[in-house]
């Protein structure tokens, strides 16, 4: 059954796939982070959607969707200390981009089986555009790089989904990357 992007169900499917492929993710190592994915609305998507993804040990342990009026910025702490076992609610960073950008990235993953060189998360965030990385705590920001391969492989699981999008028009952004 197809799953629509963006939706909580889409991230739930990724979460389940990650669990099903636990051995592969165990090899990549511990991933302990919570971050937000923000899909901003525009012509093709009426509303902005924000999802909070929590990872612990080798798994994605929780997927939440924020209410329309809530901002993930309030969950960015400037001075969180990474002491073991803390239960403080916080996120490390926010990945924010217009819907069209996420759609192109996911279409590329579907088409190629995984993100090609022009569509890796690092490539899409490096210039601060088309995907913005928002953070207050640089140590939280650095978790994006500490878990780089796990996060990339999490997105790459989209290739296994029967994926449909909030709009039907194909997207080809005018983005050129090295």
């Amino acid at each position: 059954m197809p799953v629509t992007f963006p939706s909580r169900a889409y991230f739930e499917e990724l979460r389940k796939l990650m669990e099903a492929e636990k051995e592969r993710f165990q090899k990549l190592g511990f991933i302990d982070t919570t971050f937000a994915v923000r899909v901003t609305g525009g012509e093709r998507l009426r509303e902005t959607h924000t999802y909070l993804l929590t990872f612990h040990t080798f798994s994605c342990t929780e997927v939440q969707e924020m209410e329309a009026g809530e901002s993930p910025l309030e969950l960015l702490p400037a001075d969180f200390l990474d002491t073991y076992g803390s239960t403080q609610e916080k996120i490390d960073f926010i990945l924010e981009a217009p819907y069209e950008v996420w759609k192109e990235m996911l279409q590329n993953i579907k088409e190629k089986g995984r993100a090609d060189g022009s569509h890796t998360l690092n490539t899409l965030t490096h210039l601060g555009t088309p995907i913005k990385v928002l953070y207050d705590d640089p140590d939280g920001h650095d978790r994006l790089f500490r878990y780089s391969e796990s996060i990339q492989e999490f997105w790459n699981l989209s290739a296994k989904l029967d994926l449909e999008f909030a709009d039907e028009a194909p997207v080809k952004l005018e983005m050129e990357f090295p």
């Binding site: 200390l81 060189g117 690092n122 490539t123 140590d139 790089f145 878990y147 990339q152 090295p178």
Partner: protein
């Protein structure tokens, strides 16, 4: 042989007689005194970490900042009786190596190890036919990284045996860093030799490496290496993933950046720990960063490497390509310096931005 101990056991009649008695069933069982009551710990289902055994007097949370008393390898929490040798640790001060996150980082580091021999799809490299100038530029970058990465093994390795054994969690993390950086040297050397070969080494960079190794204290070395040096290299790895000419090379940079970010995180929150607990060290840290910024700037501005980055960023040597490459390289410099100031502020050294001369470089690259 430099050490002969305190006696010859083979010639000690009492020692041999005691062993003989034990082997005839005359056990003394002096060791069988139960340890203190606070030794039980909960075994977590998924991950049984050093944090789970942080209990009672054997835990790290109750460590004194000043490690007085024994200077032996006796396990923290074990009963000590007898004439232990003095291993002469130089770092007997918890705050000199401790970090807010050293325990979770050690656990993370063990699980995120990878293998440069088998985890890189080397066999796919020939799917890409690169223009000679691109392959040469990439190999120049790999030559530089091969040359500089092993210092981040040498530095923790130099200090490991000098750290008091009661600081074992910090020692253990430093062991993982030593392994990480050996792997980085390996992966860049292999990539260069699998392609266009090793190009020009950098005497400028090596002065920087020597300065890191010669820092007077561990904390000063850490501020120089982890916060300043590896912070800069982390930016370079991310940039290199962005401009890498093949997906094999992108994979290499995604893997090395994970390790590097862990070291930066340790260094940042070690510096914070140090400044929180030893505010009098602030000026010494500033002084090493004054020197270090100069060295790192030299190393990262080596013409061969700067030019290689420009060619890779622009994907060629035409005027248009070079202009694009220069813009990307300026961006790397701005990002590197800005994120360094952010990490300094996170560690409690916000005034670094005003004191540093890197602002002059920022102006040069349009920051």
């Amino acid at each position: 042989m430099a050490y002969y101990g305190t006696e010859s056991f083979l010639e000690n009649r009492d020692f041999t007689d005691r062993l003989r008695a034990i082997l005839h069933g005359d056990l003394g069982l002096e060791w069988l005194k139960p340890p203190g009551k606070e030794v039980c710990c909960e075994v977590a289902a998924k991950r049984f970490s050093y944090a789970d055994v942080d209990v009672g007097e054997s835990g790290y949370s109750t460590l004194s900042p000043y490690l007085r008393g024994h200077r032996s390898l006796a396990p923290r929490g074990a009963r000590k009786a007898g004439d232990f040798p003095d291993f002469q640790p130089m770092v007997n001060d918890r705050d000199e190596v401790w970090s807010y996150n050293v325990v979770p980082l050690y656990e993370e580091a063990k699980t995120r190890q990878w293998n440069a021999t088998t985890d890189i799809p080397w066999q796919d490299l020939d799917r890409w036919e690169l223009p000679p100038e691109i392959e040469a530029a990439f190999c120049q970058l790999c030559t530089f990284l091969t040359e500089v990465e092993m210092i981040a093994t040498d530095l923790p390795a130099k200090w490991l045996g000098r750290v008091h054994p009661d600081l074992l969690e910090a020692q253990s993390f430093l062991c993982t860093q030593a392994m990480d950086e050996a792997r980085h040297t390996e992966v860049f050397r292999k990539r260069a030799l699998a392609g266009g070969g090793l190009f020009k080494s950098s005497s400028v960079a090596e002065h920087s490496l020597k300065a890191i190794l010669e820092a007077d204290t561990f904390s000063e070395a850490s501020a120089f290496l982890h916060v300043l040096g590896e912070g800069a290299v982390l930016s370079l790895f991310r940039h290199s993933e962005f401009i890498a000419p093949t997906e094999v090379d992108k994979k290499i940079f995604r893997l090395v950046m994970q390790d590097e970010a862990r070291h930066v995180s340790y260094g940042t929150l070690h510096l914070k720990w140090l400044l929180d607990h030893r505010p009098e060290r602030r000026e010494a840290i500033h002084q090493i960063l004054d020197l270090g910024e100069n060295f790192i700037q030299g190393a990262l501005s080596d013409p061969a490497n700067t030019e290689a980055l420009i060619i890779l960023g622009g994907k060629g040597t035409s005027k248009k390509c070079l202009e694009q490459g220069i813009e990307f390289t300026k961006l790397l410099t701005r990002q590197r310096i800005e994120e360094y100031f952010q990490r300094c502020a996170r560690a409690g050294l916000a005034e670094r931005r005003g004191r540093s001369r890197l602002g002059e470089l920022l102006a040069l690259v349009g920051g």
